[in-house]
């Protein structure tokens, strides 16, 4: 049954995974997301649901464990933070190339390099533009509350299995560390072998005599066949772009100016909208929930109705490029960000809005 608890975003991910009936978690400690594996280890789900939890020797090993588990049709996941995600990118490319479903959590911190352990959104490009090698896309969900940290585990697995594609939960250190009330979902049963053979006939579960062999690979040396594989991936990505765009509008209906922000930035921008409206500025907030597929149609639609858009991000200007592509020059688009782990205040953002658009 559902339960209401007070917990950190990272802890919510762990509890949601157990309750969703995840089969395996493979991780390596890194701040600010270590509570995910710590919570799983403390909960001992192998004694209750049978979920496997394993601390790997590296992020590289962890993502390849995910690859192995996903190959057998299981619901498997990993989590890390920015430098660790960089290490996982080879494996993520293989997962995309082999069309394997899984959930990967990135609780972003400031970079580049070892950077800082403070929150950041500087891995937007890395996540939605590929990151690893080859033409692939990651279904990317951006939670802005502890509730969404919990909810997106289920949504991530559902989308990953529906499209045979890895899904990323792109959070940041604020969402991971802050505590909020969260409604935890009821427990779902884990997959059975019979269920896997039925729902995921491509999975390696041992070749039955009447069946063909299953081989999980991203290798195809014949370029003509490899092009066909790529065309199939691209057709799938176009389908996801048509079907799975998710966003939320906040006071957009009469807005003259629009903030575009995701994750913790969107949370802060809700306050900015309130402050602006107290001063008589008709400001709205459009929050992309899926960063890929990006909600470009709705942003394009607003370009006829507003005087300007401000992309507010904890980075040097990444999502703003996708906003500009969406509006295609029809309206002025500016960016405001803080870098390297510094978080903006609502007042700072409001001041930036007024300056950039001479309000």
């Amino acid at each position: 049954m559902e339960e209401i608890k007070l917990m950190k975003g990272n802890e919510a991910i762990a509890h949601a995974a157990i309750r969703y009936g995840a089969d395996g978690y493979f991780g390596y400690p890194i701040t600010p997301q270590s509570e995910i594996m710590e919570t799983l280890m403390a909960e001992k789900p192998w004694e209750s649901t049978g979920m496997v939890v394993l601390q790997a020797e590296s992020e590289v090993a962890a993502i390849n464990m995910v690859y192995g588990g996903a190959a057998s049709g299981k619901r498997v996941m990993t989590s890390s933070s920015s430098p660790g995600i960089s290490l996982k990118l080879e494996g993520i490319s293989y997962l995309a190339g082999a069309e394997l479903p899984c959930v990967i959590v990135n609780v972003m911190r400031g970079g580049p390099g070892l950077g800082t352990i403070q929150p950041s959104q500087a891995d937007y490009f890395q996540t939605v533009k590929g990151g690893g090698h080859g033409d692939y896309r990651l279904i990317t969900l951006a939670p802005y509350s502890v509730q969404e940290m919990a909810d997106f585990v289920a949504l991530g697995f559902d989308l990953a299995f529906r499209y045979s594609n890895p899904a990323m939960i792109l959070a940041d250190g604020i969402i991971g560390q802050m505590m909020e009330k969260v409604v935890l979902p009821p427990y779902l049963p884990r997959k059975t072998e019979a269920g896997i053979r039925e729902e995921s006939p491509w999975a390696v579960q041992g070749k039955r005599k009447q069946n063909k062999v299953n081989v999980i690979t991203s290798l195809e040396l014949d370029p003509a066949l490899m092009e066909e594989n790529n065309k199939r991936f691209q057709a799938k990505y176009r389908n996801i772009e048509e079907t799975e765009v998710r966003y939320e509008e906040f006071h957009c209906e009469d807005a003259r100016y629009l903030l575009i922000a995701f994750g913790s930035s969107a949370r802060i921008c809700q306050k900015v909208v309130e402050l602006a409206r107290e001063e008589g500025i008709r400001l709205g907030l459009l929050r992309p929930i899926t960063l890929w597929p990006f909600p470009k149609k709705i942003i394009e639609a607003y370009s006829d109705r507003v005087k300007g858009m401000l992309s507010v991000e904890l980075n040097a200007g990444q999502m703003v490029e996708d906003v500009r592509l969406a509006v295609n020059g029809k309206v002025k688009v500016e960016h405001f960000g803080r870098l390297g782990g510094v978080v903006f205040t609502p007042d700072e953002i409001l001041t930036a809005l007024k300056e950039k658009f001479q309000i």
Binding site: F26, V204, G206, T217
Partner: protein, 254 residues
């Protein structure tokens, strides 16, 4: 025995293993991979495990192992097969999981995954083909290339001052608490093949009995990479490889 007698099925002493696919192999003449594949196919069939065995193939010459043995396979990234196999086994405890890896895959890029999977005592079999060279990429130096042995990236022979020493990784793995069997075999003679098959079967039995990690190293030839005829390569292996990589069990816990 007359020829007519010899070809009768009841007098047959050898047949293509049931699980070997009818497909031309991409391996070079004289390569050890073909024989090792055959042994795996035989052991899986002999033990009746074909419906529950999943192989993990490497990056290297054996990248296409999945084309030759009629079981389910997962093709791993370079060096990561033991991590892939770890999850496969932990999430599918009743299955038989083995990795098939070359020296570059297992003892260079995948050293961490190899050591940690073995140290955790994962109930998997690691088949390790050591031909002291990178075959698929064209004969470059491997972690196991012998001192003085030439390759395309040490054309004047491996100089330990420059490249360090060849790595006896099986010896290292034998030291770990998680391994139950670490054995070094070869397949250049009928007698060696028979012995190797016995140890490979032991490894598979250990895995299904949950005894820990079993490692079967095959000291092998690469006639193309070594630039020798298959017969010369076998002779060179016996004369040079066996003294540095002596055959036999390094660890065999009953």
């Amino acid at each position: 025995m007359e020829l007519i007698e010899i070809i009768k099925p009841e007098n047959r002493v050898y047949a293509k293993p049931r699980l070997m696919n009818d497909r031309p192999m991409h391996y070079c003449p004289g390569c050890s991979h073909g024989v090792i594949h055959k042994l795996i196919a035989e052991v899986v069939a002999d033990m009746g495990l074909e419906e529950q065995t999943i192989g993990v193939s490497p990056v290297g010459c054996a990248v296409f192992a999945y084309n030759y043995i009629d079981i389910d396979w997962v093709e791993a990234a370079h060096g990561r097969a033991p991590a892939v196999a770890t999850a496969l086994k932990r999430l599918n405890r009743e299955k038989m999981i083995f990795t098939y890896q070359g020296d570059g895959d297992l003892a260079a890029i995948g050293t961490a995954e190899t050591i940690h999977a073995a140290n955790r005592g994962e109930n998997i079999v690691i088949v390790f083909v050591n031909n002291a060279i990178y075959g698929m990429t064209g004969g470059q130096m491997a972690p196991t290339t012998l001192e003085g042995m030439a390759s395309s990236t040490c054309p004047y022979g491996r100089d330990v001052a420059l490249n360090g020493y060849p790595l006896k990784i099986a010896d290292l793995l034998a030291q770990l608490e998680g391994t139950c069997l670490v054995t070094r075999q070869s397949v250049q003679t009928a007698a060696a093949v028979r012995k190797a098959k016995k140890m490979l079967r032991k490894a598979f039995e250990n895995s299904m009995a949950g005894k820990g990690t079993s490692v079967v190293e095959f000291v092998s030839t690469c006639s193309s990479g070594w630039k020798m005829t298959p017969a010369q390569a076998n002779q060179w292996m016996e004369n040079h490889m066996f003294s540095f990589y002596p055959l036999g069990d390094l660890k065999n816990v009953e």
